[in-house]
């Protein structure tokens, strides 16, 4: 179906408003401006809560104008660093947000699609970071080779975690993954070859076609700080994560995951090999998390076990719950919000954990499906 004029207007307006708000949010120093933007955001959702017809109107507009929406989004992502007045801290926040977005999408395969409470995403993230960092430091492996190697290693760990987890369910499954996360953290802390609590330092910056990621980007007289390299790199990773998530969600595999989320016994009786699909969810989660870990390691150039604690896993889980289970766009929004908010509200940083706890409880009470709920699948032309 071709988008109508009002579809186009809705898509363009919403994306521009989103980008502009994000810019002011990032550059705001005053907590009152931050609070104001947050209030605006909350008001938007309150309206959605009461006017579900608007919500579906917007949904339809994006459905019909998908190409325009994606094209404009890519353009905005490309141009966004130009609007930040060379503020490197804002860029840093964006990079971390994007990496968390990838982690949240990774966890969404499990928590959102298949309802597997995996508290070990932080561990997979860490394994990815350490494997690539070790390869780079000791074997001079460059970033582009370390990336897939780390992903393969983490996926293997994902299988390793998935197989014993299959003997347990629900709360017990959660406990197994918590234990796994803690064990990985302790191992990283105690092995000599991982640098112990000191971690690994001096991870070399990647380079592409002779351009080092440690140097600024200069195009036609416009100079962007070196962080912009990693901003674009992580944006590409988010793109890859979105495409993978959509392809899996829109396939027989996504359906099988949803089936076992709704009713595991009934899923078995439809011919779904439940164990295989659960292990698969672990593997996919680990695969994507390792990508994020690798980029993180090469970006910060220093990693330690404290970057990959149990708390990281809890944070990622909060992002998925807040954003919307099994809604890709939702979990990205959740990741951005929960990465930036604690940074912007530094004054209250002592209460960070309390804040996460309250947010999760509020969401489970008021909007249990998250900011952006899952939508039913549609098949071309059949409806």
């Amino acid at each position: 179906m071709r988008p109508t004029f009002s579809d186009i207007t809705i898509v363009i307006a919403l994306e521009l408003i989103g980008a502009i708000l994000l810019r002011f949010f990032l550059l705001a120093d005053d907590w009152r401006i931050v609070g104001g933007i947050l209030l605006l955001f909350c008001a938007g959702f309150a309206v959605m809560q009461f006017r579900s017809d608007w919500e579906s109107r917007i949904g339809d507009a994006f459905n019909r104008g998908t190409r325009l929406a994606v094209g404009l989004a890519i353009l905005l992502v490309l141009l966004f660093p130009l609007a930040l007045n060379g503020n490197t801290y804002a860029l840093h926040l964006l990079i971390v947000s994007q990496l968390y977005a990838v982690l949240a999408i990774a966890l969404n395969f499990q928590l959102g699609s298949a309802n597997i409470p995996n508290f070990a995403t932080g561990a997979s993230y860490g394994i990815g970071a350490y494997v690539s960092a070790l390869l780079a430091i000791h074997f001079n492996v460059n970033f582009w080779l370390a990336l897939p190697a780390a992903a393969v290693a983490a996926t293997a760990f994902g299988f390793l975690l998935g197989v014993p987890s299959m003997r347990t369910r629900e709360s017990y499954l959660a406990l197994v993954t918590i234990a796994f996360g803690v064990v990985i953290h302790q191992l990283l802390n105690n092995f000599d070859w991982t640098g112990g609590p000191n971690g690994l330092v001096g991870i070399p910056a990647p380079s592409l076609f002779g351009h080092s990621f440690a140097s600024p980007i200069v195009i036609g007289g416009i100079k962007l700080p070196s962080q912009a390299n990693f901003y674009y790199l992580s944006a590409v990773l988010v793109g890859i994560a979105i495409i993978s998530a959509q392809r899996l969600h829109g396939s027989r595999i996504g359906l099988a995951w949803n089936a076992l989320r709704a009713d595991e016994l009934a899923a078995r009786c439809q011919g779904i090999n439940v164990i295989w699909y659960k292990v698969l969810a672990f593997a996919v989660d680990a695969f994507l998390a390792a990508f994020a870990g690798t980029i993180y390691a090469f970006y910060i150039s220093f990693i330690s076990p404290d970057n990959f604690t149990f708390l990281v896993s809890v944070t990622i889980m909060t992002m998925v719950i807040v954003g919307g289970m099994d809604n890709i766009f939702g979990v990205i929004v959740g990741a951005f919000l929960l990465t930036m908010l604690p940074e912007k509200l530094r004054a209250f940083s002592d209460y960070r954990i309390l804040f996460f706890g309250i947010v999760v409880i509020l969401f489970l009470m008021i909007r249990p499906e998250g900011l952006f709920p899952q939508r039913l699948r549609r098949y071309g032309g059949s409806e």
Binding site: L248, S251, R252, L255, A259, A267, Q270, L280, Y379
Partner: protein, 264 residues
């Protein structure tokens, strides 16, 4: 009825600790036959279905599908081999659309794996689109009303339509044997009549399909099955046509209790 045994159980026994839930049950299901399974609550009728579909592994005894033993196979393999079922309390995927429920029923008749989905999305999507078209056809053949609601979430369906959807989902796996576990439970007389008509329409299209049906509603048991077997305390106590069964003292005892029949 074309007289060869599609599904056969020999001495099926299962113990849960000290409890013998099923004790040496033999049965045969012919191609194109409808076999009714009746018995008081807790007699072991659903246990029998769980044994056939691989949800339980029998302590002793064997199940054969077309003379191939099924023992030890996991539930999802047994579906693939051609035995589908519905559940006593409907177990739909309530947060998915009606159409998706049927497409999931086709899981073992579709192929795409992870690598297809990620690297050859056009192939995976094409397969799913075909499945969606087929699922639509199947829904239409089971019930036009259900087909019209195919885009809605399964949780929004009325009770009778939930039953229909569960049957449609089971048929999506292209089974040789269909096990219906109390399809009329929670239905009024009118819905039950509609259900009988639905099942008749299904077998009219699929003369080779064999059906086992657990029922309490005697109207349905009188109308649909060719043969009925009666289970009590995990044992088969009688088997035959409904007309013969209903007059057997043992069967009346099982249903009404010993005293009631003694007084009668």
């Amino acid at each position: 009825m074309s007289g060869h045994a599609v599904l056969r159980g020999e001495g099926l026994t299962i113990r849960f600790g000290g409890l013998v839930a099923m004790d040496g049950v033999d049965f045969v299901l012919q191609a194109g036959e409808i076999l009714g399974v009746i018995g008081p609550n807790g007699a072991g009728k659903s246990t029998l279905f769980n044994l056939i579909t691989g949800l339980y592994q029998p302590t002793a005894g064997k199940v054969f599908l077309n003379d191939r033993p099924l023992n030890g196979l996991p539930a999802h393999r047994i579906v693939q081999m051609g035995i589908s079922r519905t559940f006593q309390s409907s177990r739909l995927f309530t947060d998915l659309s009606v159409l998706d429920n049927v497409i999931i029923g086709m899981h073992c008749r579709t192929q795409s794996g992870v690598f297809d989905a990620m690297l050859r999305p056009s192939k995976a999507r094409g397969e799913l689109r075909q499945a969606a078209a087929k699922a639509g056809e199947l829904l239409r053949s089971v019930s036009a009303g259900l087909y019209d609601q195919r885009g809605r979430a399964a949780s929004e369906l009325a009770q009778a339509d939930r039953r229909r959807l569960e049957i449609a989902r089971a048929l999506a796996a292209e089974p040789k044997v269909l096990l219906l576990d109390e399809p009329s439970s929670g239905m009024d007389d009118r819905d039950t009549d509609a259900l009988i008509a639905d099942v008749r329409a299904i077998i009219a299209r699929r003369p080779e399909l064999s059906i086992m049906i657990i029922e309490h509603d005697m109207r349905l048991v009188a109308e649909l099955p060719h043969r009925v077997m009666v289970i009590e305390y995990g044992r088969k106590i009688a088997e035959g046509s409904f007309a013969d069964i209903r007059n057997m003292p043992r069967v009346q005892e099982a249903y009404l209790g010993r005293k009631a029949t003694a007084h009668a």
